[in-house]
């Protein structure tokens, strides 16, 4: 008997050589299947938009692979099997972006690295962290730059201060950015804080502080001293630092803080705690919109810009600059949208391109850019061992 197999509009169907994946963006269920030549033929018909996500099948002529494939679809609600004259129709997820032009509204945050000396690391390539340099960003230039557009868009402004004890510098910042103080967050290294007087003044003026701790030097008394004047990021390198951080924060009665793993020759820690594995893939709960987002933009980087103390502007500090603070904001956004830049960096290269989980995996991260390795993933390795 002939029937019609219809996939639901919420179901994504991906095939990479002999492996296929069905993912329902409403139920968040996913199922892998083997792509035999007969199943490949069915999928090929289903994947033609004109077929409206349906294929006619003949019960009498199905092989075991096809039967299994159809069984997965119907039993796990990726689609349905209906009579051939059934009128209901479906359509495959086919992305359409109406306007790809550069827009000011894309900008969501700018992080300014003010400059000055501090602990010398390159952690700023992985997360917001002060840079150590003798250069200083010209605060007047920054203010002029921000004034060009801040009234027309809703953006967050991060100011990363390398030397928090430079009271002259901090006072100048507090004065210069007062006109947009509601949108500003001041980042500094917590360990460097000698006095909180100036910070209390800043908070009184309406500024917000974000303190960065290194897990290796995290101490209860510093946490306790700063807990009422800002929020916290703790950078960790191993599991022991994570446990210590948890305990100290618990003792200080702090429930809201961010723990950020930092890569530094600690591959095993990353493999165990950061890399994607089968369990994390199965925990994915992405809507159709979010899957399409993964296919189009980098959700980690899109909308962010970084200005270094030399005035160069980046869409990601691990990549080439997109201009300088002297360029127009429109020009910078246009450059940020160029294919080789971070905002549109998606999993369309290397091993990811061959992977059936390509579009449900998170967008490429800074860790990958720092490691020069285009995926953080245990799945491929695990498959090799099978």
């Amino acid at each position: 008997m002939k029937n019609k197999l219809i996939l639901y509009p919420s179901t994504f169907l991906w095939i990479k050589s002999d492996k296929g994946l069905l993912y329902n963006s409403l139920t968040y269920k996913l199922s892998e299947f083997i792509v035999s030549p007969s199943v490949a033929k069915l999928c090929s018909v289903l994947s033609k938009p004109d077929n409206l996500y349906s294929v006619v099948i003949d019960d009498m002529c199905l092989d075991e692979f096809e039967k299994k494939f159809i069984c997965v679809i119907t039993s796990k609600h990726y689609g349905t099997l209906v009579k051939i004259n059934y009128n209901g129709i479906s359509y495959m997820p086919l992305l359409s972006i109406q306007n790809r032009q550069s827009k000011l509204s894309y900008l969501s945050s700018i992080t300014f690295y003010i400059g000055g000396t501090c602990l010398k690391t390159d952690y700023y390539k992985q997360t917001i962290f002060p840079v150590s340099t003798t250069q200083y960003l010209n605060v007047d230039d920054v203010v002029l730059f921000i004034k060009m557009f801040h009234r027309s868009c809703n953006i967050k402004i991060n100011l990363v201060i390398s030397d928090i004890n430079d009271s002259k510098c901090l006072n100048k910042i507090l004065e210069a950015f007062y006109f947009i103080k509601e949108d500003v967050v001041l980042y500094t290294l917590a360990d460097d804080v000698l006095s909180t007087i100036l910070m209390k003044k800043a908070i009184h003026l309406g500024y917000v502080f974000h303190f960065i701790f290194l897990g290796s030097t995290l101490k209860f008394d510093i946490v306790n001293r700063l807990k009422n004047i800002g929020s916290f990021n703790v950078l960790i390198f191993n599991e022991s630092e994570y446990s210590i951080t948890k305990n100290i924060m618990l003792s200080a009665l702090i429930s809201k803080y961010d723990v950020i793993p930092i890569f530094r020759n600690n591959v095993n820690f990353f493999k165990e705690n950061v890399y994607m594995d089968n369990k994390s893939i199965r925990a994915v709960k992405l809507s159709k919109r979010e899957v399409f987002a993964h296919q189009s933009i980098n959700l980690n980087f899109f909308g962010d810009m970084f200005v270094m103390p030399d005035g160069r502007v980046y869409s990601n500090v691990n990549m080439q600059p997109i201009g300088t603070i002297k360029n127009s904001i429109h020009q910078l956004i246009t450059n940020a949208l160029k294919k080789q830049q971070a905002w549109l960096l998606i999993r369309n290269k290397g091993r990811c391109k061959q992977c059936v989980y390509q579009w449900i995996c998170p967008s490429p991260s800074n860790y990958e850019l720092v490691k020069h390795r285009y995926n953080l993933c245990n799945i491929v390795e695990a498959e090799k061992l099978k």
Binding site: P9, S10, P49, D50, N51, L52, N87, G88, I89, Y91, P93, L94, L95, S96, I97, Q98, N99, R100, Q101, S102, K103, L104, S105, Y106, M148, F149, R151, S152, S287, K288, R289, E290, F292, A293, S296, I297, L299, F302, G303, S328, I329, H330, Q331, I333, T334, L337, W343
Partner: protein, 423 residues
């Protein structure tokens, strides 16, 4: 439950959105004159309708237009736009705009001297009766020209000369042919047609006539169905022809539907349906970052003032569109100043939104509403009744209608998703 609650709640428009629309204004339309050299039976400013200022053969004052341009250029040159190189059309509308060519020439010269920080293009809707006199100027300024032509001689027979009552067909065809012959490249790139469907033409006939004679695909519209005078309803009904029916009655309906593509109302409805409900269409990159189910939107399908255009009547009234009742003016321009108060506009606009909000929250089509509140006949009453309201039954019928059309023409899915851009 939370999702449902969010979808049943709506927000007001905010004054800054109107300011933002002024900064990013896409089209400024001047009603150059309310005079016309034709007297078309079904004209929106004619005998069949009410809801417009009395036609007194006036010309829009150049001074008023310049004041408004100064007002906008001040906004445009001091604010940053959303797009790097925004484009604004300055359009001339009537009556028949070419009757006031002096205004058009002076305003264009003025705009060219303003050094506006944006790309400016000029456009015009014309009945083509004076095209022979002014085509050189229109071509020189690269006008986007929209010519009103209903088809062959009989089809054009409602567009009669005001002075003699004679059919305008011969003059219009001769002028358009002359333009095509003298400036073939311009004609290909900048000239389009629009046609009105009525009881003396048909979709198929009009489409074929213009395709055959000018190799262009005309946009065919039904007679305006709002603000019809009570005493003219019979006449309106006699003149009116339904577009879907006209296509259905054509000798080769399926071929015509395919040729018309989005000109077919059913395909156009399908486009809207897929854009709103497929979950596959995104306005821009920023749309990926927003969950539409969690954000509050405004109710009805009414454009936020100046989101698409600004229309200035011959009397200096400022409206958000040329197709709405002049009593909905949002401001005005006098000989001395421009009166536009965004707070006041938002307040009045929100008052209308509030009137139908209850119905909107119950409506099954609220996510893809196309009902402009200006077209709700009793919108000025205490409890207006929305014509576009859909209960579940009506909404299910609407979905079946759209999807039924897709089932008939499955190839439309790929074409709509990959070839159509609506901005």
């Amino acid at each position: 439950m939370c999702k449902l609650l969010a979808m049943n709640r709506f927000r007001d428009i905010r004054p800054y959105e109107i300011e933002n629309n002024l900064v990013n204004l896409r089209q400024l339309v001047f009603e150059v004159t309310d005079a016309c050299n034709l007297k078309c039976k079904y004209c929106g400013y004619g005998d069949l309708y009410y809801g417009y200022d009395k036609r007194e053969s006036k010309y829009l004052s150049v001074n008023k237009a310049k004041l408004l341009l100064n007002y906008l250029s001040n906004i445009w040159n001091t604010s940053i736009t959303n797009e790097e190189s925004p484009l604004t059309y300055i359009s001339f509308y009537g009556g028949e705009p070419l009757l006031n060519i002096a205004f058009i020439k002076e305003i264009i010269a003025y705009v060219e001297n303003l050094q506006l920080k944006r790309n400016i293009l000029f456009s015009m809707t014309t009945n083509a009766m004076l095209l022979d006199k002014y085509m050189d100027f229109l071509v020189e300024k690269k006008f986007s020209l929209l010519i009103s032509l209903d088809g062959n001689r009989r089809a054009q027979s409602y567009r009669v000369k005001k002075t003699t009552g004679e059919n305008s067909f011969d003059k219009v065809i001769s002028n358009v042919k002359a333009l095509q012959a003298k400036y073939p490249k311009y004609f290909t790139e900048h000239v389009n047609f629009n046609s009105v469907l009525h009881n003396r033409n048909s979709v198929g006939g009009t489409y074929s006539f213009i395709k055959k004679n000018f190799n262009k695909e005309t946009t065919i519209s039904e007679l305006n169905n709002s603000e019809i005078r009570e005493d003219k309803l019979d006449e309106y009904d006699r003149t009116f022809r339904n577009k879907i029916e006209s296509i259905k009655n054509s000798s080769n309906c399926e071929a015509l539907e395919k040729k018309l593509f989005l000109g077919d109302p059913k395909t156009n409805d399908l486009l809207l349906f897929l854009h709103q409900y497929s979950g596959n269409v995104f306005k821009d990159y920023a749309s990926f970052l927003v969950n539409p189910e969690k954000i509050l939107s405004t109710n009805t399908g009414t454009c936020i003032p100046f989101a698409k255009k600004m229309f200035v009547t011959v009397n200096g009234k400022i409206l958000q569109c040329e197709r709405i009742d002049h009593s909905f003016s949002l401001g005005s321009v006098s000989e001395n100043e421009v009166h536009l108060d965004v707070n006041k506009i938002a307040k009045i606009f929100n008052k209308y939104l509030a009137k139908v909000r209850g119905q909107c929250s119950m409506c099954y089509r609220k996510r893809s509403c196309i009902q402009c509140f200006h077209y709700i006949p009793d919108i000025k009453s205490q409890h207006p009744s929305c014509l576009g309201f859909m209960d579940k039954k009506r909404y299910d019928m609407y979905c079946s209608y759209c999807l039924g059309h897709l089932a008939k023409y499955p190839e439309l899915y790929n074409k709509i998703m990959t070839k159509v851009r609506v901005d």
